[in-house]
Symmetry: C2
Subunit: 727 residues, 2 copies
Amino acid sequence: MKQLISLIVMFTAFISPVSHAAEMFAGEDGYRLWLKYDRINDPVQRHQYQKQLTRIYLPGQSGTTLAIRQELTAALPHLLAKPITFISHANRANSLVIVKGTQAIQKRYGLGERFTKLTDEGFLIKALNTKQGQQTLITAKSDIGLLYGTFRLIQQLQTGKDIRQINLAESPKIRIRMLDHWDDLDRHTERGYAGQSIWDWHKLPDYKKQRYYDYARANASIGINGVALNNVNADALILTPTWLKKVAALADIFRPYGIKVYLSVKFSSPQQIGDLKTSDPNNKAVQQWWQKKAQELYHVIPDFGGFLVKANSEGQPGPGDYGRTHAEGANMLAKALKPYGGNVIWRAFVYSHEEDTERSLQAYNEFVPLDGQFADNVSVQVKNGPIDFQPREPFSPLFGAMPQTSLAMEFQITQEYLGFSTHLVYLATLFKETLDSDTYQYGKGSTVAKVIDGSNYKAGKPHLTVMAGVANIGMDRNWTGHIFGQANWYAFGRLAWDHELSAETIASDWAKMTLTNDPQAIQTIVSLMMNSRETIVNYMTPLGLHHLMGSDHHYGPAPWVDNLGRADWNPVYYHRADEQGIGLDRTATGTNAVSQYAKHWQTIFSDPKKTPETLLLWFHHLPWDYKMASGDTLWNALVKHYYQGVDDVIAMQKQWLTLKGKIDNNQFNQVRMALAIQVKEAKWWRDACVLYFQTFSQRPLPKGYKAPEKTLEYYQSLTFPYAPGQG
Amino acid sequence: MKQLISLIVMFTAFISPVSHAAEMFAGEDGYRLWLKYDRINDPVQRHQYQKQLTRIYLPGQSGTTLAIRQELTAALPHLLAKPITFISHANRANSLVIVKGTQAIQKRYGLGERFTKLTDEGFLIKALNTKQGQQTLITAKSDIGLLYGTFRLIQQLQTGKDIRQINLAESPKIRIRMLDHWDDLDRHTERGYAGQSIWDWHKLPDYKKQRYYDYARANASIGINGVALNNVNADALILTPTWLKKVAALADIFRPYGIKVYLSVKFSSPQQIGDLKTSDPNNKAVQQWWQKKAQELYHVIPDFGGFLVKANSEGQPGPGDYGRTHAEGANMLAKALKPYGGNVIWRAFVYSHEEDTERSLQAYNEFVPLDGQFADNVSVQVKNGPIDFQPREPFSPLFGAMPQTSLAMEFQITQEYLGFSTHLVYLATLFKETLDSDTYQYGKGSTVAKVIDGSNYKAGKPHLTVMAGVANIGMDRNWTGHIFGQANWYAFGRLAWDHELSAETIASDWAKMTLTNDPQAIQTIVSLMMNSRETIVNYMTPLGLHHLMGSDHHYGPAPWVDNLGRADWNPVYYHRADEQGIGLDRTATGTNAVSQYAKHWQTIFSDPKKTPETLLLWFHHLPWDYKMASGDTLWNALVKHYYQGVDDVIAMQKQWLTLKGKIDNNQFNQVRMALAIQVKEAKWWRDACVLYFQTFSQRPLPKGYKAPEKTLEYYQSLTFPYAPGQG
């Protein structure tokens, strides 16, 4: 009884609102991500897993084999609450057998075509009834396939799957699945909202932080196999010997986990660090400089992945400075890397200082004429939408328009335009919306995903398939600033591996691995995640509005900004609100951006009545009294979307509060605090935007809608000189 | 047997050199600092502690009482491996009684004078034999005294003390014991080497990180009761309403832990954020502006500590801009804070752009004439030495030279000039060297410590005693970048509380609480710590040399630099090496800095034969063939010191390696990697300095000393554009 009292006392101390001191010893601070290996609660399931998995046969001594061994050693004894034994023979009953698939093994276990069809990175997990009894087999064509299979098996346990008859065969649909870090060499991260860059360059190469290993584990667990370490607004110094030593140290840590290192390079490097007078890609000395640099690179990093390049965009140097095309620039670098198997990922996010074509048109105009001209180790990386990672954009018209070019997808995981790291926004629905979009460029069913994975590729040379995500990772203890930011990292990896997975499945897996296995709590969490993206669209940029955020730092609303150096940096350029109406006419009567899409879409996007309301103001400038499908005027509908967004965040907050006690208190509190900020900022967005647009519409709020408490002038007076992530 | 094998397998996996993945789940990453509450291994001691401490009587409901309750709840059940019970009566046997000392309690327990003499923050811990049986009493005059007493009791357990007859009475010798964070509002930390600032300003006030609470706990555990949150190179914005809300959120978290918040303020704030045309301290509008600001501040932070000010130094604005003295400037601010009990800490680290007096003389020249003019809520904060936190300096001549002024000590905990966060340097010996220095200003025995703690204060008004340390804390998981950096934070706090403690005692306490209780390992660790500071002096700046580091970033050696904007920014200004010899003549034949010291020291410092060799070249320019006490020439002695320094680091490294397996593997590896860097950089310092000074001495190395492998030109060619912490 006395002990019971003291336990009660302890428990109340742990949840005291006055101070969180005690969490230090007990709380789940988010560092373990989805790789939480706590005891499985269900005793029946745990017993079954124990029976199947505590003896392990894992031959081999490669770095990757050791990584598998370590992961199993870290995971199984805790998940199963039973020690594991590594055994030296494959033929013991009730054992987990992890072996590369030789012909003998294929035959012995009758794996057949399912094995043959695996790619180098694929794996097969199969429950076997052998002469020796029940066994669980993980096999693959490479050690890294075995590692991926191991992580998939661990995931099955974490999510409570029945593995008695497990029979999975998976190969990634995309070859290069990579994270792009926009990390500067001084550890600032452009558009980073989770603290400083995780690369502690000053202490590298000698000081190897634990976080580097855990970063590699986390990525491998979801199939990410490439990492661009530094900002695409690149510093030439990254290619100097001092820095390459640091890069090599990271590459050494990542190698056993199947992760290759890529570097963002500055196109003018030959001048900046090479003493050349030009960086013209057609200049022999320049070509030789890059070839020598590639040789030097592969000497220290034999499996170096390649270069990521932002050229002739937002002031970055590029081949255009010498009258050369993007293809000439990219191919020159590709040639230097080719002998070593390296690739060039060349960004299509370009808009020039000289050009005054409407911004959404420029990438298409510049790249489509180059179709077929890129070397086969070049992939042209296209952002999901034609502008810049907005809460909602239509898919970029480049997808499907370059049938002879390897096109890479670039998503943004970091929430530059989606509330930084205090807004709960699950991005898998956004990613899926783009991937599932049908371009109609090769007839019905030619989705963006099929463009990316090569299904619709027409060049007759090897296709380099790439999906990249701009990372949301920093030094914050929970990696991403917001616990739910982890879900976006996780979902990106899962979708890069298999774009056919549903956002809901991924949300459910993530939540079970990260937060709880309580079915009711999972239901709440998944529903909250699934609705979250539409919610932010509503309170930030409903009905196809876009680019309304504050200048430079992109924090908060500033639709009124009209004084920046370039017309297309200003929000007013995009919303075009005036006394008549609102929206940017991108039909034939306007900028004619619709012409860049397939006929199917041209017809739809040209007609406001056919255009999905979610993209209405993206394509049309419409009068304030334009009648919506609902019967509302456009003005009333716009206001209602803004208010709906806020209401929905408040509902999310309420839903979250029901989880108190059902998930770890530390995780619960982190999200609780972030949601309070999200509610505040959602109201800020709503009120600032509604007040501003009202100066044009000159119409009252719909009946029953409460006017904002503050004035437009108040919102316009706010400044944020130290908002994080400024580029 | 099977289980045994698997345990062995698990163990080997955990210490595998290939990957540290498994540490994630098991390793001691350094976050817990010295507040590790793991089970006490010695069963006899544990049993005794259990008997004495598992019933606790702790009345009261204040924030501080709750903090005590939480700390005990976090600590005791783990240390003692037994649940604890909070009881509702003070008269139970075998209980821990934590009560404020009313008269009744004084009388009941016969506490007498020892209790009466306690300051408000002091405490008394006493084992009692009462009628009810054995009890352990913690008492004090305030809740915060009880918290300090609780932390002291926990420390006794962590360090394995016998507490059966415990009888301690302690009061701090210094009233304000504070950390100065040089943290900018964009989270850059000037001279920070442990990652970004821990203040996540963007997410404050709503998002309250666990780290803030643990920071408060750590500070309270060593008696730190003040924190200046922002850089002395201050940004006026810190005083705007937006930022004060953020500051108030931190103050709320720190309050239960007895910690007051201070802010560094920019003297020109009235102009920068107040729309005034001047910041002249004699201007009425300026005075009123500060008075209104103080009112606003205390409205949101009722226990606000005060202002820390860097004025007319290194380009900062100050009263001198208007022809006013430092006293006039400080008193104007002091008057504004006075009604609320706030203080002004005014830095004496000044050197002006116009002045060409030798740098070490300037603070004394400017401040001594102002003695007696400062208000009683002003303390003038003096760096330990006359230049700038070098590996070794003599004590500043200001100590003892301003008998009617409250002088604060400013130490630097962050290792700006001592190897950043990769060199193991225990600074308590440096702190003690200054504190124990006898100024002779009031006769023999008038040590610097006595100047600071007020023993020698002559003003007849209240004395404000302050010891400040420039923090070495950042977002790195282990807080300080280097595990041993924690020891410097810890030692600073302990010495600010009681400057009579020995560096060795503090080292031993820290090591036991942080690393291990193994007596042999403790011996190794303490000896390594105790020698570490002399080692770095040897490989960086032996024999009184100083200020030889790289420009701006202060990383690595650059004694050759002679081209900076001001003469006294150049290393050559300080070492004055030429063909004749080396050193800066600060005697009467030179800059006469010796004249600022008491007669006793003037005699000693004026004569190279009497000057301690550790400070020889600080005070004298001597010929290369000057004969040292050892019989060596100065040149040979100099070279030997440099080589000795490197040898000693290598010895440290070897000593450390003997600890493998005796302390946590993660902590072991962190220090191992840092030591490898320290060895490399010690050689760099040695070789660069020896090669450079050899260009003047034109003498060979002493017999048997191996010449550096690289050339001087190589060292001179190195650049570090992204070295951390640049100001």
